[in-house]
């Protein structure tokens, strides 16, 4: 690789004001939200459109340079950290909402568009999307869907991204070809349906962590804004009771009673479990019925009714940002993944044991329901100056124990993420993913070291 030539070619492709190799710039892009140590790229590039990306990918192949792809950098799993240097693409210039198709109920966005922006623009048209991650307003849609993200908002009813709400992608393959998936693949067809043309290649991209191609457009299912909504908050003392509530609320697959069901317990208040529930719908009678049904389920399982405003505050702020959440220190998430509906108490027990052994009480165990399962997480609040090593040890222990017990991760990332904990856990499937990667990316330029080694 001739570094001077690469630099000149990068400038030719995107222009001087969209590329940087300044030392300070590389540091500004060196970390995600995890405690992973800084990883430095060689170049930061801000592509404007799909054409730029095609040229950049071809350049990377020619010079055998790694390319890493970053949205707004909000990953917790080291999913874009440039572990082998090279080009780091900052996709936030590609932030347009290309189309809101009110007839087919599909929004087409560029990958750097945030959930927040899409939500605001949809609301003006009395529309909304199905489900999203929980996080700050800067979360981008591209980064979120390629890791099959999920959060408490809408997941109880609709599951994770990709279960039904990603209609198709436009993406640049690692060798530079441009492909569209779903009905969009037909030259005269809009994105309105995900399946139909052989295998579901949209599904191949959802959760791929960017290793099979660079997403340049995402088509998403949207729906009319619900006319009616209700919030419920209950407190429980036993996770076995919470499981019974989750079980009852999600048993009618396709007609789940709640839109969102989110629960948590703080290490400093063991046995005080807060459950926040969001019910929405288009018919007042149905929403009222569901609310009453869930209240009956909670009461029958020893739930004590609390202030519904607690739930309202959580769900209304899921995308726009909760208040003051980082004031007491930096957050780290460990033990994040999905488990079957009945297994929740086992993981709570493991968490409590580890936290007690380490006497580390600035931690929360949380879970939110999806159809017949739970997404679980452990939240650790720490001081980066004083507790960086400690938090890494604690987090490693939680991850190891949870994966040993069968938890399925919902984001793997690179060697600084969850990859080391999964060695030997998914061999055959892992090999298949690696084969597909080798076929699509013979020079291994795209996201090398991420998801698969």
């Amino acid at each position: 690789m001739n570094a001077d030539n690469v630099w000149k070619e990068l400038i030719e492709i995107v222009g001087e004001d969209r590329v940087s190799k300044s030392d300070f710039e590389l540091y500004a892009y060196s970390r995600d939200l995890s405690p992973a140590k800084p990883r430095l790229a060689s170049y930061i590039v801000r592509p404007r459109d799909m054409e730029d990306i095609v040229k950049l990918v071809k350049l990377a192949n020619e010079h055998k340079i790694p390319v890493y792809v970053r949205g707004c950098g909000c990953s917790h799993w080291a999913a874009w950290l440039p572990v082998r240097g090279g080009i780091l693409l900052d996709m936030t210039s590609m932030e347009k909402i290309v189309e809101i198709d009110e007839e087919n109920l599909v929004a087409v966005v560029e990958p750097g568009c945030t959930w927040f922006k899409l939500m605001e623009e949809l609301r003006k048209k009395r529309l909304t999307y199905l489900s999203s991650e929980m996080g700050g307003p800067a979360m981008t849609i591209g980064g979120s869907v390629v890791k099959a993200g999920g959060g408490p908002y809408g997941t109880c009813k609709f599951g994770f991204h990709g279960q039904m709400d990603i209609i198709g992608f436009e993406l640049v393959l690692p060798t530079g070809e441009v492909v569209k998936t779903g009905s969009w693949a037909m030259s005269k067809c809009k994105p309105f349906r995900r399946e139909g043309l052989g295998p579901d290649l949209t599904g191949l991209i959802v959760g791929s962590e960017g290793i099979f191609g660079i997403v340049t457009k995402v088509a998403l299912r949207v729906r009319p804004l619900p006319e009616h909504e209700e919030f419920l908050y209950f407190e429980f003392n036993d996770w076995e009771d919470v499981v019974k509530v989750g079980d009852a609320v999600t048993i009618w697959i396709g007609d789940e009673a709640a839109y969102s069901l989110d629960c948590s317990e703080e290490a400093s208040k063991v046995g005080a479990i807060g459950v926040r529930i969001y019910v929405f719908g288009y018919d007042k009678h149905i929403v009222t019925y569901r609310k009453r049904l869930i209240m009956d389920i909670c009461r029958a399982n020893n739930g004590k009714e609390g202030d519904p405003k607690i739930a309202e505050k959580t769900f209304k702020k899921v995308v726009s940002g909760l208040h003051g959440i980082f004031a007491a220190g930096v957050w780290h998430f460990a033990g994040c993944g999905t488990i079957p509906i009945r297994e929740l108490p086992k993981y709570v027990k493991l968490w409590r044991e580890i936290i007690e052994r380490h006497k580390f009480y600035r931690s929360t165990f949380g879970a939110w329901a999806f159809p017949r399962g739970w997404t679980i997480y452990v939240h650790l609040l720490y001081s980066e100056t004083m507790e960086h090593e400690k938090i890494s040890l604690l987090s490693n222990e939680i991850n190891s124990k949870f994966f040993e017990n069968g938890m399925v991760p919902y984001g793997i990332g690179g060697p600084d993420g969850l990859q080391p904990f999964l060695k030997g856990e998914w061999d055959t499937y892992y090999n298949l993913v690696r084969k597909i990667k080798r076929f699509l990316d013979p020079n291994n330029i795209l996201q090398p070291g991420i998801l698969v080694e």
Binding site: F24, A28, G73, G136, A138, H323
Partner: protein, 382 residues
């Protein structure tokens, strides 16, 4: 290093991205003009960390990047939702450390020299300041109120001072001036990372104000207001006088019935919040109340208003280092104003007036940029 004082805060940044908001390029004007992560608050915290850990050194490029920040405080407001990191203070500390490391941008040297030698940012002789002030229509040697005009008004927008003093006369209020004895408030030193230089300006100005024996200092400049009311007490302790911004003073006069405003048929007007009285001091309602006191005026808000206001492009000395980029920030603000349908953009800071007028001309906008005192004087004349 000055940033050592902020070590805990710098390490407390979890890189959540709240500082960027959901419309990523439209919260922070630095991110808007520069585009890269180094122009964001969280990116700057990572750079500060690398500086603290001696992995990075200051360079001309890094200093230039630091001067893409308008110090407008929008990120501080966003971060108050998250980690409550004082980002603008840390950015100013980085600018100070850069100078201490021997890295100063060439474009800033003449400004620093002018301030040191002539005590104003335009390198004009003090006699010029006195000459200008002597042309003011009325002065009262024995007064409880002193009007601190500041550099931009004195040398670029004297009309703002004339208009303010005419309003005061109509309310029968006596006012004193410092004349040749007035020095720059020192705000540019804060912006440039030379805050230690401000001390002698503070000592001088406060001494001269004390000699006048006034109880209140009035200013029309948002920057002078911030420095006099917030920075001087940090340097000198409690001041023997109150500092008031013209919007607060006018609002009080109107409330008391000392100003009788007549109708003005100018249609819709919109108000731009100067960062240094808005986000820095919470003066949001007084200027709006003044405008709405004028019969027949319809005040319409820009989408970005009060604590979410967009900088005019005049903050943080960015206009000295990256002039065209700073103007593009002002142009966006003009667009915000145009989108309201207003024909008049009112503000309450001479630096904002200057930037917005330039941006408006460059954009060939028909919107008229006006200082609040001029608007009030027009309503008095009717």
């Amino acid at each position: 290093m000055y940033i050592e004082n902020f070590r805990e805060q710098i390490y407390n940044c979890g890189r959540c991205g709240y500082c960027l908001g959901g419309y990523i390029s439209h919260v922070c004007p630095s991110r808007f003009i520069a585009g890269f992560e180094s122009a964001t608050a969280r990116g700057r915290m990572l750079i500060a960390k690398a500086l603290l850990e001696r992995k990075l050194d200051y360079s001309q490029d890094l200093a230039s990047m630091l001067f893409t920040c308008f110090l407008c405080g929008a990120c501080d407001i966003k971060c108050s939702q998250a980690a409550n990191i004082k980002i603008t203070e840390i950015t100013k500390a980085m600018r100070q450390d850069s100078i201490n490391a021997g890295v100063m941008l060439d474009k800033l040297i003449p400004v620093a020299k002018a301030l040191t030698e002539s005590h104003n940012i335009y390198n004009k002789p003090s006699t010029k300041r006195a000459a200008l002030l002597s042309q003011l229509p009325e002065r009262s040697e024995k007064a409880d109120l002193l009007y601190f005009s500041g550099c931009v008004i004195t040398f670029r927008y004297p009309q703002i001072a004339f208009n303010t003093l005419k309003i005061l006369r109509s309310a029968e209020i006596k006012v004193a001036l410092l004349g040749e004895e007035e020095w720059c408030c020192g705000n540019p030193f804060f912006f440039m990372g030379m805050s230690s230089e401000t001390e002698k300006f503070a000592v001088h100005n406060v001494e001269k104000i004390k000699e006048k024996g006034v109880k209140t200092v009035l200013t029309s400049c948002a920057g002078c207001y911030r420095v006099l009311s917030q920075e001087y007490p940090k340097i000198l302790g409690e001041l023997p006088f109150k500092v008031v911004h013209v919007t607060q003073f006018l609002n009080k006069l109107i409330d008391e019935g000392s100003l009788k405003l007549k109708k003005l048929d100018v249609g819709k007007v919109t108000y731009h919040d100067p960062c240094e009285i808005g986000r820095y001091a919470g003066i949001y309602e007084e200027p709006r109340s003044v405008i709405q006191s004028i019969p027949h005026i319809e005040l319409v808000e820009m989408e970005k208003n009060r604590e979410n206001s967009w900088c005019c492009g005049g903050g943080g000395s960015v206009n000295i280092v990256h002039t065209h980029l700073a103007l593009s920030v002002g142009e966006l603000r003009i667009r915000h104003a145009e989108e309201t349908g207003a024909k008049m953009l009112v503000t309450a800071c001479p630096s904002c007036v200057q930037m917005l007028e330039l941006a408006s001309k460059r954009k060939r906008s028909e919107i008229r940029v006006i200082d609040i005192a001029s608007l009030v004087l027009d309503a008095l004349k009717q």
